[in-house]
């Protein structure tokens, strides 16, 4: 089909063939400008759903957002009768892919639902029905459609716990769900016809997949060995031209960027600070230089006033420890600190070492607030941060040195074992 013919067919609510046995039955949403609140969509988006026909039945892979159900059913009806539909595969249960599901289940009563193990609770929460029948599938499980079959890959947290992929081996097609997708609406549908969606692809990865980098790597380990003739994602262009390039790009994006700069056995500790009168800055310098003295620690010092939050977020993704210094102004940490901390939701920070410090005028809440946020981001925060009233004395600078050393030792796993009583935690909240 030519690009012009595809545009015409999409407008006329036709199903678009990916192959003689596989059709796109999705919907286009060109007017969307904001997705899930957090994402901008300059080009709108598409909700891709697919139909696979085997000699012994039909499978529908995903559906569309509810408002677009009419488009979906109109296309679906051109390539399948409802009573032929034997399987409904849900690679991801978010409402933009399951909006037409309740209606589809009514219309196709013979169809069995196939979901991942982790999707069960979500399916029940979504459909609010008792006695729901479904089959949970894992890597290696198959749906037999006669001369076609779908094999499942368990790829959780891309980007919900429930996500999975389905592979049609006979045609080398991967139905990848949100993986390799993007918000980019173009009626020409296929990546060799559409406009330039590179930005959307990268932006989608950065906001949707990046927080789950470890899970991306595990999914790629399953996907890379597959012969890939075409990737059929749940959003954006269908990748039939050099599909493996997109898999390679995911591998690059999920690989540590600064790995080669750090020697084996070294761990990185980043000290970020912002300072009104130089007091928090002096504390930062002391903590940085003391941490640097611990062998194996590669410490770096950054003034938040001198950089962009996004660039720092890249650094933090690779760091082993993050130490934040802020003065307290009007009972709070200052905005650049919160900007940095709020940018970390797109990064997997779980298990990294976190700490805070700062100088203050009279109340000094900032340090504890930052520590709470670090805990909320699932960092471990075993050392109570240093707080100094206004100008640090020489003794307080020594205290900062001790804090920096303790952080370095903690990072390198060299702190001595400690035994404490639970009652100690009630007063200090920390093990230090």
């Amino acid at each position: 089909m030519s690009a012009a013919r595809i545009v015409q067919a999409v407008a006329q609510r036709e199903a678009i063939p990916l192959s003689p046995r596989v059709h796109w039955v999705g919907a286009l949403d060109p007017g969307l400008r904001s997705f899930d609140i957090i994402l901008k969509t300059a080009n709108g988006t598409s909700y891709n759903a697919y139909v696979v026909r085997g000699s012994h039945g039909v499978a529908v892979v995903d559906t569309v957002k509810r408002e677009f159900s009419a488009d979906f059913f109109a296309r679906l009806e051109q390539v399948a009768e409802y009573d032929e539909i034997k399987a409904i595969v849900l690679n991801h249960l978010e409402p933009d892919h399951t909006g037409a599901l309740p209606e589809l289940m009514e219309r196709a009563p013979n169809a069995q639902l196939y979901i991942s193990n982790k999707a069960q609770m979500m399916l029940k929460a979504l459909l609010k029905r008792e006695n729901l029948a479904f089959t949970t599938v894992d890597t290696g499980d198959r749906i037999d459609l006669g001369d076609r079959s779908l094999r499942f890959l368990h790829t959780p947290y891309l980007h919900w716990p429930d996500t999975q992929c389905a592979y049609l081996a006979e045609e080398q097609i991967l139905f990848s769900g949100d993986v390799f997708g993007c918000h980019f609406c173009d009626a020409r549908l296929f990546n060799d016809f559409t406009g330039d969606f590179r930005f959307s692809f990268e932006y989608y990865y950065a906001h949707i997949m990046r927080p789950f980098r470890d899970f991306v790597v595990r999914a790629l380990d399953l996907i890379e060995p597959l012969p890939l003739g075409l990737i059929a994602p749940a959003h954006g262009p269908i990748l039939r031209d050099r599909p493996s390039d997109y898999v390679k790009r995911y591998r690059e994006l999920a690989s540590p960027r600064l790995k080669r700069e750090i020697h084996p056995g070294e761990k990185t500790l980043l000290v970020f600070y912002i300072s009104s009168y130089g007091n928090t800055a002096r504390m930062a310098e002391a903590i940085h230089s003391a941490a640097q003295e611990i062998s194996g620690v590669r410490a770096s010092l950054y003034d938040l006033e001198g950089g962009d939050t996004e660039t720092f977020a890249d650094l933090l993704e690779e760091a082993d420890a993050i130490v934040l210094g802020s003065p307290t102004i009007n009972g709070d940490a200052v905005k650049p600190i919160w900007d940095l901390l709020s940018s970390l939701t797109v990064i997997d920070m779980k298990g990294k070492l976190g700490a805070a410090f700062g100088s203050y005028g009279w109340s000094g809440e900032a340090v504890r607030m930052i520590e709470d946020r670090l805990r909320g981001l699932k960092l471990r925060v075993p050392l109570q941060g240093v707080r100094v009233k206004l100008i640090p004395t020489p003794e307080e600078i020594l205290q900062c040195h001790a804090f920096g050393r303790a952080l370095g030792e903690e990072l390198m796993g060299r702190r001595e074992a400690r035994v404490i009583d639970m009652s100690d935690l009630l007063t200090s909240q920390y093990s230090a």
């Binding site: 193990n117 982790k118 069960q120 609770m121 716990p161 779980k350 298990g351 805990r375 699932k378 960092l379 471990r380 925060v381 075993p382 050392l383 903690e410 796993g413 702190r415 001595e416 074992a417 400690r418 035994v419 404490i420 009583d421 639970m422 935690l425 909240q429 920390y430 093990s431």
Partner: protein, 95 residues
């Protein structure tokens, strides 16, 4: 009151606690990497590996067993928000 100890291996800290204490109550205060999401045994965020003292913890409930299965938990894994220490010593780390 009967005492027990929980060792958080990721930060090398042992805490003496009264029997019956839930692991999550201590892990968040002490700054261990065993962190929580829902605290209701539903999300699986607080999954931990029990290296020693498995039998010194309460038995997993039907709900916890289900969540552990759904999260493909290993046989030494428990949810810190559900497991209570009964006595003796227990060693844990983030799963």
């Amino acid at each position: 009151m009967a005492k027990a100890t929980i060792t958080f291996e990721d930060i090398n800290v042992t805490v003496t606690v009264p029997a019956g204490t839930r692991v999550i109550e201590i892990s968040e205060k002490v700054g261990s990497g065993i962190t929580y999401g829902c605290r209701e045994g539903d999300c699986g965020t607080c999954m931990m590996k029990v290296s020693e003292g498995w039998n010194n913890l309460t038995e997993p409930s039907v709900l916890e067993d289900k969540i552990l299965r759904e999260n493909y938990a290993g046989k030494h894994n428990r949810l810190a928000c559900q497991a209570q220490v009964l006595g003796g010593s227990v060693s844990v780390r983030p799963a």
